[in-house]
């Protein structure tokens, strides 16, 4: 074993959390190696040129939750960080009308009034109340959850801090928080709004990536989670990163490399090397071994505990918890190369409605019925589609005059009853395209190429179990103290020196970076303690 194969820390997986973690550890002076199984870094945040000049965001396609602390602490602007803010939110309706929000508050009032006069202030109250909830829970979002089951005095201090913080909330904010965390987004909307298209627009954000419909309790929590992001201090705002989300992970890779981390591609980790309950390194599938006293897995909990680690070295209750941890991916992507812009008859000749999310979710019931199919093992007859035409905001995404359109599709359950995705993939994409054609009459004529990414492909290419885009379902029993398992929410594992930093840890999911950052804090703290 040569010294060149020895590191202070090895990070398994070059997705955005792995890269973030590696960048922090390298910045702290550690000799860090990132091992990525594919030929490119980025994990589920990649951009691929599938057709000359057309840049596809294969999986993840927009940015919001990325913690501003990471942008600043890793000085990402220096390495090319450039979020291009979305300008609009467009929801076509089945009757040919639409709901279109833009960057001007006054004009948004007019647009809301077109659908319901009562919803003008209803929406403003909704936004203020939910912003207060965000402000209240933000400190929990950006810190390592206390380990409820530990006897470490540091955890007792953190619990005391948590209880004290919860005591600072006023009763309305706390009640609103609980309503969102436990209830359905549809019920929450009903308390403020009456227009169905406005409610549907809000509810659609609650249905991204989870196996719940807008009327299911728990969908409120997903809505709250997805609204926790910000750009330039504007809560809940979204952007397209320059060059797609792959452009963003390239920024992270440049930063990590600049801080001294080494990134090794085409390096599929097979298993951990351990001795007496301590990690010693990892072995690749090709037999190559790398040594380090710290190994951080950015993979999901199933791979972290049941595949890379030997479950026989782990406590039985942890293994059992991870075995029953829910993944059950339900999202797909259908990405298009287009010869021009889709035409929406009611906004003929206009394109400014396409400068953000295009939400094909015309009613709350439409989404709930789309979800119903998934409950019974099939994909939606009329899917909910979250589309965006990134090339309109970032001209580098497609040749002049041409466009790429990313379509996030719900619901497409990982396990189909009585069939396979191999058999159904194109049929599902046909439904997506037919749905789009129904709203945009020139759509079929524009399609130059179509890429279909069903949950099995998400799993095969990114390693996300069952294609769950969050590396584990957002259920209350799989969040905060319990993500991924009670007693292991602090990024440590029972194997000394083996840590987790993937989206399956708090506050994981989406392109957020927080698990990578918080895990690096835990690693560095433990290394400091060991030295002392």
């Amino acid at each position: 074993m040569s010294d060149t194969n020895s590191y202070d820390a090895i990070v398994i997986g070059g997705g955005h959390n792995g890269l973030t973690n590696a960048a922090y550890l390298a910045k702290a002076g550690k000799k860090v190696l990132v091992l990525e199984q594919r030929h490119l870094v980025g994990g589920a945040a990649i951009t691929e040129e599938l057709r000359p000049g057309f840049q596809f965001t294969t999986f993840s396609y927009a940015l919001s939750l990325l913690r501003p602390e990471i942008i600043q602490e890793l000085d990402l602007v220096r390495y090319g960080f450039m979020p291009l803010l979305m300008r609009s939110h467009f929801a076509p309706m089945e009757n040919g009308d639409y709901f279109l929000l833009g960057p001007d508050t006054g004009l948004n009032r007019q647009e809301i009034a077109r659908h319901s006069k009562a919803d003008v202030d209803g929406m403003e109250r909704f936004e203020h109340d939910t912003a207060r909830v965000r402000q209240f829970i933000r400190p929990l979002f950006d810190s390592i959850p206390p380990n409820l089951f530990s006897d470490d005095p540091a955890d007792a201090d953190k619990m005391a801090w948590l209880l004290k913080h919860l005591g600072t909330g006023n009763k309305k904010v706390i009640h609103d928080t609980v309503r969102l965390l436990t209830g359905s987004i549809a019920d929450f909307c009903d308390d403020y709004l009456e227009s169905d298209i406005i409610k549907a627009t809000i509810c659609s954000a609650a249905c991204v990536g989870i196996k719940l419909g807008p009327m299911s309790p728990g969908s409120g929590m997903n809505w709250l989670y997805l609204s926790m992001g910000e750009h330039d201090g504007i809560g809940g705002s979204w952007s397209f990163h320059k060059g797609g989300n792959g452009g963003f992970t390239q920024v992270l890779a440049r930063a990590a490399t600049a801080y001294g981390a080494e990134i090794r591609l085409d390096s599929h980790v097979d298993h951990l090397i351990t001795e007496k309950g301590e990690v010693k390194g990892v072995a690749l599938r090709d037999g190559t071994e790398f040594r380090a006293p710290v190994v951080v897995s950015s993979l999901d909990p199933r791979r972290t505990f049941l595949e890379i680690a030997d479950p026989r070295e782990l406590p039985a209750d942890l293994v059992e918890t991870i075995q029953r941890f829910r993944f059950q991916g339900v999202a797909s992507k259908v990405n298009f190369a287009l010869d021009g812009l889709p035409e929406y008859p009611a906004l003929s000749g206009r394109a400014d409605q396409y400068l953000g999310f295009i939400n094909v979710a015309p009613t709350v019931e439409y989404m709930e019925r789309a979800y119903d199919a998934a409950k019974y093992g099939w994909y939606s007859e009329h899917p909910y589609i979250d589309a965006c035409i990134q090339s309109l905001v970032d001209p580098d995404m497609a040749p002049p005059g041409k466009h790429v359109m990313s379509c996030f599709v719900m619901y497409t359950p990982y396990e189909l009853k009585g069939s396979t995705w191999q058999a159904e993939r194109e049929n599902m994409a046909d439904r997506v395209q037919a749905t789009l054609q129904g709203f945009f009459p020139n759509f079929n004529d524009l399609v130059l190429q179509r890429e279909v990414v069903s949950p099995d492909i998400i799993e095969a290419k990114t390693g996300l179990s069952e294609g769950n885009i969050y590396a584990g379902e957002f259920f209350p029993h799989q969040m905060y103290f319990f993500r991924p398992a009670p007693g292991y929410s602090d990024y440590r594992t029972p194997i000394r020196g083996y840590y987790q930093c993937g989206s399956g840890t708090h506050p994981g999911g989406c392109v957020i970076g927080a698990p990578g950052r918080l895990a690096s804090q835990q690693v560095l703290k433990d290394l400091g303690r060991a030295k002392a």
């Binding site: 501003p68 602390e69 942008i71 600043q72 990402l76 602007v77 960080f81 450039m82 979020p83 291009l84 803010l85 300008r87 833009g102 960057p103 001007d104 004009l107 912003a131 402000q135 750009h231 330039d232 201090g233 504007i234 809560g235 320059k242 400014d352 400068l355 309109l392 905001v393 970032d394 001209p395 002049p400 005059g401």
Partner: protein, 399 residues
């Protein structure tokens, strides 16, 4: 009745807001989009165009044209080659800056000056002792700035002549069969060009540019986005960073080139004998070290700004629109040491930036100073760090 520029009919069609300001008696867009931030991103990420037609434009022609320019303007014009332009300033006898502008050399004896403020009377008065002719061509030409990474791609479609144009070079060419002058200049700190067009043909040229620009995301931008880009570029603006010394009421309202961060324009004045207005005073200031100010950049760290609001129960929502007032600066002991003349949140740089005037001992990059902000109805100082200018300087600007 306020006037409109030759581009106005098309600009009015493109404007979603119809929000216009008044620039020297012409309607000038505040913003076209509902949010100027998106115009700003248009410039930084694709291309934007700004109507600069209200600029004053003067021909300076004749045997003594160079002599007059070398006397009137503080920057040495004798080294300015044909087909090149230079940013310049003019000072008063006490070495204080009156105004700034861009000087184009069309021939050995022919220059064009563009400036934000009227100067016909002043130039005419100066010209009495020279064999020159001053012509106010302000109403003869419309002008358009096309700025951003795609600006070259767009203009190349219309006139391949500009492909090889160097930074601050210009060429006389044609767009839509109209003779135009295109210079590689601008106020955005980015790759960019300015097009000077005879008034009568302004609209067809704009239409040709719009057509060529459409697939590249070309969009109009207004005064707010202009302000954001020029602060990132560290470029001083008359009426904001300084006012003409000739209209100043107190010494506090006059600034020398060194005080305004424009000393670099005066390269070599110690070593030659070129007479120009303000020379003796500027040399004296340099010899005595009597500059009262230095112009620097300041940045406020995101975490400090966030804490400023979060600790008081407020959401920290930074504003990219440059603030319209000066913000006071203090040292660690609370003593006044200067003021920020421009201040904004930069979405590209992800932090607050400002152009500031500080006492010379605080001008060292890295120095911590404190910026006064109003938070929760109180004046609160937030830590700021002195930096060099510009804040944003992509390679493509000059490459």
């Amino acid at each position: 009745m306020i006037r409109t520029t030759p581009f106005h009919p098309r600009l009015a069609e493109l404007s979603q807001t119809q929000m216009w300001g008044n620039w020297s008696g012409y309607l000038s867009a505040v913003r076209y989009d509902l949010s100027s931030k998106h115009e700003y991103f248009g410039v930084r990420n694709a291309a934007g165009f700004f109507d600069t037609s209200p600029l004053y434009k003067y021909w300076i022609r004749g045997r003594d044209a160079e002599l007059l320019c070398s006397f009137a303007f503080a920057r040495d014009v004798r080294t300015l080659k044909l087909g090149r332009a230079q940013y310049t300033i003019w000072c008063d006898d006490d070495g204080f800056i009156m105004e700034d502008g861009v000087l184009f050399r069309f021939a050995s004896d022919e220059f064009l000056l563009t400036a934000a403020e009227p100067n016909m009377g002043y130039l005419k008065q100066l010209s009495r002792l020279y064999d020159v002719e001053i012509v106010d061509a302000s109403e003869d030409y419309a002008s358009l700035a096309i700025q951003g990474p795609r600006s070259r791609d767009i203009l190349e479609v219309l006139t391949p002549d500009i492909s090889s144009l160097r930074y601050f070079g210009f060429t006389e060419t044609k767009i839509a069969n109209t003779p135009v002058t295109i210079s590689r200049t601008g106020f955005s700190g980015d790759l960019g060009y300015e097009v000077i067009i005879p008034v009568a043909d302004a609209l067809p040229v704009l239409d040709a540019i719009l057509q060529a620009g459409h697939p590249h995301g070309l969009r109009p931008y207004g005064d707010e986005a202009l302000g954001m880009t020029r602060i990132e570029a560290g470029l001083p603006l008359i009426g904001v960073e300084f006012n003409s010394s000739r209209y100043a009421w107190t010494p506090d309202d006059r600034f020398t080139p060194d005080e305004l961060g424009l000393g670099w324009l005066l390269k070599g004045i110690e070593d030659d004998s070129r007479p120009f207005i303000g020379r003796d005073a500027i040399l004296r200031e340099r010899a005595d070290g009597s500059s009262r100010w230095r112009t620097v950049g300041i940045t406020v760290a995101w975490s400090d700004f966030y804490e400023l609001f979060d600790s008081r129960g407020h959401l920290a929502v930074p504003d990219e629109i440059p603030v319209a007032w000066e913000s006071m600066l203090y040292n660690a002991n609370g003593k006044r040491i200067g003021y920020a003349t421009s201040f904004m949140y930069s979405p590209i740089l992800q932090c607050h930036i400002g152009i500031a005037r500080v006492k010379p001992k605080y001008a060292e990059p890295g120095t911590d100073i404190y910026l006064e902000q109003t938070v929760n109805h109180e004046y609160i100082n937030v830590r700021a760090t002195v930096t060099t200018l510009p804040f944003y300087n992509p390679e493509r600007k000059t490459a």
